[in-house]
Amino acid sequence: MKAKDLLLSCIPLAEHQVKELVQSYGVPVPQRLVLEGDEGLPRRLPFPYPVVVKISDPQILHKSEVGGVRLGIKNRAQLERAVSRMRQDFPGKAILIEVQEPPGVEAIVGLIYDSAFGPSIMLGMGGILTEVYQDTTFRTVPIDESDAYEMISLLRGARLFEGFRNIRASKSALVSAMLAVSRLGEELGEHIAQMDLNPVIVYEDRCVAVDAKLLLRKRGSAEQA
């Protein structure tokens, strides 16, 4: 099936909706603020700069390709400019303002509805090189803690979680995010065609899902994923 046909047969969610969902299962996401419709900026942001401004709409899955992402916003003036520019380019769409997380080891955690095995979880090395290296491993959900650790150990990038060259990336933080995604998959996996948390940035003591995409399965599209 072509990607376009798949999109037409599945219902995408907006990023802020996906984040709310995964957060409720225990996946850490950046502090955020959503401006719906023509809602104005609050007097003060409830979190510090720098921040990111993104368009958050079910119809715009690949935001950066259409100019729907502004990074590195350091102050109020820049923020106001970015928001009004988004309003111009994407009238009526929700705007997501988030804490800009620092760089770290990037993983991808995903869910897919597999036609043979049902809801399955993916772990891979994330970021822009995800598709280049295709360093991934899958398990059916639910997974337990030892499954999650084994999945990390099977990545070619596993050494990044072992203290390679002073890089500090917490395996246990990633594992707990994976277990949260597994719980989500266990409860709602029948309704989810695909989900990407990419990247999940992993630091010394925590991890955070910086971007999130989700396609719901339409009723009766059981065999499509």
Binding site: I112, M122, R139, A193
Partner: protein
């Protein structure tokens, strides 16, 4: 251990068998199936309305005219005649039907219609009297120990394997029969073969559970192109694998490459990595070709799983030792295990017992001038090494001072010793004879260094999986 009764017993251990379409014409499959089945202990009833007698057996005009209960009915009939025959089986109270004909769902809408008709016929019987149906489009079953056989390829051109501990469930009959023939040629035996064909009734999951409970089966191998119910399959495997290894050759890997790919997770799942991950999660071994399927089965069926990952190589030639060491230790082109350093005491013993040019380090090189006794001495020393889990014997049966007794020495240590032992030998007839002899004694033995190393790797994996499982 006696098997708990199953309604699939009539497929593998029938007391009475009717062959519908049994024929006097030697070119007909009904004739071949009837002739082969004569070798079994089962009582046979050829059914054919137009033949009086076949190979000295009185022919029955119909299933209904057979005066006894019929456990198994083999349908050697065209697809179009099958629904009616299934109806007769239902009326007769047959327990198991093997439907050999092709030309069903795999060919199009008319075939699909025939399948629907068969399903209706089966469903018309009350559940406790409903026959189980294998196929259609299958080579059926083969049970070497009891000579129960419905395979209709020529035995002369396509020899069958003898008895052993491996059960083979296959979605392609001919593929499995050829794989078994190749395996038999090197000394591997089977407990049973079953072709699932179009899986109209009996499917791979049920057969997996059947062989899990079968006392004659110690290892289960499968050739699959699709999973009827992947979740149930994994659940069964989780139960079985602690007791019996399961090895799957899942083909059709590129087919799912056409999978939808709107997000990363979708496009990355495309190359059947979900299958990969799911099988590993259930601790099922995945083979990627027919050779690996049988190689792993041989290793896991008799070999000793180990956890430590410390291996010694015993060889007669420096080169073979280096090749084996590379394959053992490399992660990319090997199995990522470790050559174990030998103890000082062990090395001293080896130096005193082996020839002057021998190497007492790992790889232990007894040299091509070694005799049976040198091998025996080296094996004895390695068996008593404290920090060693496995011994890969890279042997040279061609060398001048060894003879057949060398195989007994290795076999003896294999059964009596505490280390996991795998044998490889490179060569022609002589070497292949020796390997076959070892295989028949249960020793995993392979004609290439890589295949032996891979077997060691599998035994290690199984050991690690088992110990992690017991800790959970």
């Amino acid at each position: 251990m006696k098997r708990t009764p199953s309604n699939l017993d009539a497929l593998f251990d029938p007391r009475t068998v009717a062959v519908l379409g049994a024929s006097r014409d030697p070119s007909k499959i009904g004739r071949l199936v009837f002739r082969y089945m004569l070798d079994s202990e089962a009582k046979l009833f050829p059914v054919n309305p137009s033949a009086g007698e076949i190979l000295g057996h009185r022919c029955y005009p119909s299933l209904g005219s057979i005066p006894e209960d019929v456990d198994m009915a083999v349908l050697a009939l065209p697809a179009s005649a099958t629904p009616q025959a299934v109806r007769e089986c239902v009326d007769k109270g047959v327990k198991a039907i093997v439907c050999l004909a092709s030309g069903f769902g795999e060919t199009g809408s008319e075939g699909k219609r025939l399948e629907e008709e068969i399903k209706k016929m089966l469903a018309s019987a009350p559940p406790e009297r409903r026959p189980r149906l294998l196929g259609p489009s299958t080579l059926g079953v083969y049970v070497p120990r009891r000579r129960i056989e419905t395979i209709f390829t020529s035995r002369e051109r396509n020899p069958r394997p003898g008895p052993g501990g491996i059960a083979f469930i296959s979605q392609s009959g001919a593929t499995a029969v050829c794989i078994m023939e190749a395996a038999a040629a090197v000394g591997v035996g089977f407990s049973a073969f079953v072709g699932i064909g179009n899986k109209l009734d009996v499917d791979e999951n049920e057969l997996l559970d059947y062989f899990a409970a079968d006392p004659e089966t110690s290892t289960i191998i499968m050739y699959l192109e699709s999973f009827k119910d992947g979740r149930a399959f994994l659940e069964s495997c989780r139960q079985i694998v602690p007791k019996k290894p399961v090895i799957v050759l899942k083909a059709g890997r590129s087919e799912s490459g056409a999978k939808a790919a709107a997000l990363h997770t979708g496009s990355l799942a495309g190359s059947d990595r979900v299958v990969d991950g799911a099988l590993m999660q259930a601790r099922v071994f995945r083979a990627y070709d027919e050779e690996e399927l049988v190689d792993l089965a041989r290793a896991l069926d008799h070999g000793r799983p180990f956890t430590g990952g410390r291996v010694a190589i015993l060889t007669t030639a420096g080169g073979m030792g280096v090749i084996a060491a590379d394959l053992l230790e490399s992660r990319d082109r090997g199995v990522g295990l470790k050559l174990a350093p030998l103890s000082e005491g062990g090395k001293a013993k080896l130096r005193s017992l082996l020839l002057p040019f021998a190497s007492a380090n790992n790889p232990v090189d007894v040299t091509a001038n070694a005799s049976n006794d040198h091998y025996a001495a080296a094996l004895e020393v390695l068996e008593s090494e404290p920090d060693l889990d496995a011994i890969l014997c890279v042997m040279q049966f061609q060398s001048p001072f060894v003879d057949e007794r060398l195989m007994d020495i290795v076999t003896d240590w294999f059964h009596r010793g505490e280390k996991s032992i795998v044998v490889t030998s490179i060569g022609g007839e002589l070497s292949q004879r020796a390997l076959k002899n070892l295989t028949e004694s249960g020793v995993p033995a392979y004609p290439s260094i890589w295949r032996g190393v891979r077997a060691i790797g599998a035994l290690h994996k199984r050991g690690v999986w088992a110990s992690a499982n017991s800790k959970r």
